[in-house]
Symmetry: C2
């Protein structure tokens, strides 16, 4: 193959992402594959693209924790990739065939510096995609959000929104591991709710599309909510604020319900913040980078012991499917980490992982 | 005098308080003055009623930090009062003529137990009304909100809303005492703003009724806002969130702009909470009761040294004026602590204080 495909950010969403590759938010571009790799770079092949709720924010030119993606640039994103060529200066550090997590962006191949790719070691039973989910950014986000911001204590009631998403499902399981008395998941379908309770050990799961979901939430939080791990914002955040326990911690991880809104909405039942002395704290996983090794060790150990379960939603069909997959992520079609399979991993490679 | 007046909470506001004593939120009642005091009580005469933004919340039957006032009851409120008769069991503890702070409610006289009245000692230069303002609940609220929730560090930028109110003016001065580089007050008139800068030492004050106040706020916070002490909520909270510095602390003390609203509004620019890792924390001064003595000592010492200044807005004319004064409080007519003078303090009594 002498050329490869890139997905370019072409037009600002207004406010929703248009997944059409013909005049929509993104466009496709075919570029020549480099014939040789600079001495201080590696060439990687993208296998799995990570789809993340934060991506919508990256397309908005506002002050944020990260610079926005510029129009005309390859769409930003993390991937599971394999090194297929190594520049001569990096031969001691990398070899062809190494698996890495990297911010390749949405392209089939990428030329990257040593600092832009990260090798990973999988624990017994680990899968390569774990390095981008339960043992990657979403797992770490759940870990630090729950342990450092929410810090549930034994006997407490913990509620997680977006509970069937990659971060939410790990956050809920960690709360249970940490001794929470009751972990309640909020998700958008009956199937997701059943999965959370049957497979992941949530005590209760509520489908927020049920007409009476607020009443259900009230019924299952008789001692109110001590920790709320929020991935959705909007009406769900409001309903949980109305059930906030005194001195409760509201972990503001994301607000997926608002990202595509022209007029994002914050909580309205805000008086409760005062009357119940609520702490609402936003956080970004990058701030905990120094603690990643310890966290990953603990997550891997829980995974090996079967205390922590994971699930991925992998969209096959190649990189062209990424824009639609991103739109589907905001619709909540996924249970677990949403990824696009850019190139399947062959069985020989899998065996080596 | 054998009878006295009470102001009764008669009709729930919908949503605004109607100050008319003839069919409005409150009504007036004349009751007989007790001829003798039970052995375990004192009889006090109310001199100054405290008017507090929280009062509107007390009239709403919602889960809160304190039970609502019941329809038909004397309106709840704190006062500066003087003991005029002491039951025999309390003779060792109180004497006629003692000045106290007490939750008398809105009435000219009250029979109270020993735990319901609190004697106070004024520092050099202190005035009796101080015990209900700078050396009372509003001063303590400012103290704990700023030092325990906001904890400004040297060099930081601090913004206070409702800065010309009883709590806000103390909060801003404490930030300055604690070494904040720049203290910005938000208030509702040019006169208030001039007072904050000229008399209280705020670095800047902005009239939020100016058409370009948001631009002014942006211009005076080039390094963003590290601590926001919020008494108003609503649009002002939003504008300050848009200027939140990374790891900033938003002290949620009150939301006076929303108390009389049928549909209270929380912050809308909520994404900043995540991107800038903002901590928003509500608090109630009562939670710090064990630390009151230390705090009062420090406040009194700042007051004596002239580092801390106070101001009251005293409405003369007796207890009948309380409902209108409460409405005026929400309109922001006051600079400093809003009180109703129920009975003037005579010069002889003043001299003894």
């Amino acid at each position: 193959m002498s050329s490869y495909k890139q997905i370019i950010y072409s037009k600002a969403p207004n406010p929703a992402i248009d997944p059409s590759l013909n005049g929509g938010t993104f466009s496709i571009k075919t570029v020549a594959k480099p014939s040789n790799v600079p001495s201080d770079k590696v060439l990687v092949r993208t296998h799995y693209l990570s789809l993340d709720p934060a991506m919508r924010q990256w397309l908005t030119a506002k002050r944020s924790y990260i610079a926005p993606v510029e129009i005309g640039a390859v769409m930003r994103g993390q991937s599971i990739a394999q090194i297929i060529a190594v520049g001569q200066d990096l031969a001691a550090k990398f070899k062809t065939g190494d698996w890495v997590v990297a911010y390749t962006g949405w392209q089939e191949y990428a030329v990257l510096g040593a600092k832009e790719v990260e090798q990973f070691v999988l624990p017994p039973g680990g899968r390569p995609t774990d390095a981008m989910s339960v043992l990657g950014m979403t797992g770490l986000t759940a870990y630090f959000g729950m342990t450092e911001v929410g810090h549930p204590k034994a006997g407490e009631t913990v509620v997680v929104s977006g509970a069937a998403g990659a971060t939410g499902m790990v956050a809920g399981q960690i709360a249970k591991i940490k001794g929470a008395k009751r972990v309640v998941g909020l998700a958008g379908s009956r199937e997701k709710c059943e999965f959370l309770v049957r497979e992941l050990g949530f005590d209760v799961a509520i489908n927020y599309k049920d007409a009476d979901w607020k009443k259900q939430l009230k019924d299952v939080t008789p001692e109110y909510i001590d920790v709320f791990f929020d991935n959705t914002g909007g009406e769900i955040l409001d309903a949980c604020l109305a059930r906030a326990a005194r001195d409760s911690r509201f972990v503001i991880c994301g607000a997926i319900s608002q990202y595509n809104s022209a007029k994002p909405q914050g909580p309205t039942s805000f008086m409760t913040v005062i009357s119940q002395r609520v702490t609402m704290k936003g956080f970004i996983v990058f701030d905990y980078a120094k603690k990643y090794p310890t966290a990953l060790q603990e997550l891997a150990s829980w995974l090996s012991q079967g205390k922590l379960k994971r699930k991925e939603h992998i969209v096959p069909g190649g990189i062209e499917g990424a824009p639609q997959a991103l739109v589907d992520l905001y619709k909540g079609v996924n249970t677990g980490k949403m990824m696009v399979e850019v190139a399947p991993v062959d069985e020989a490679a899998k065996a080596k992982l």
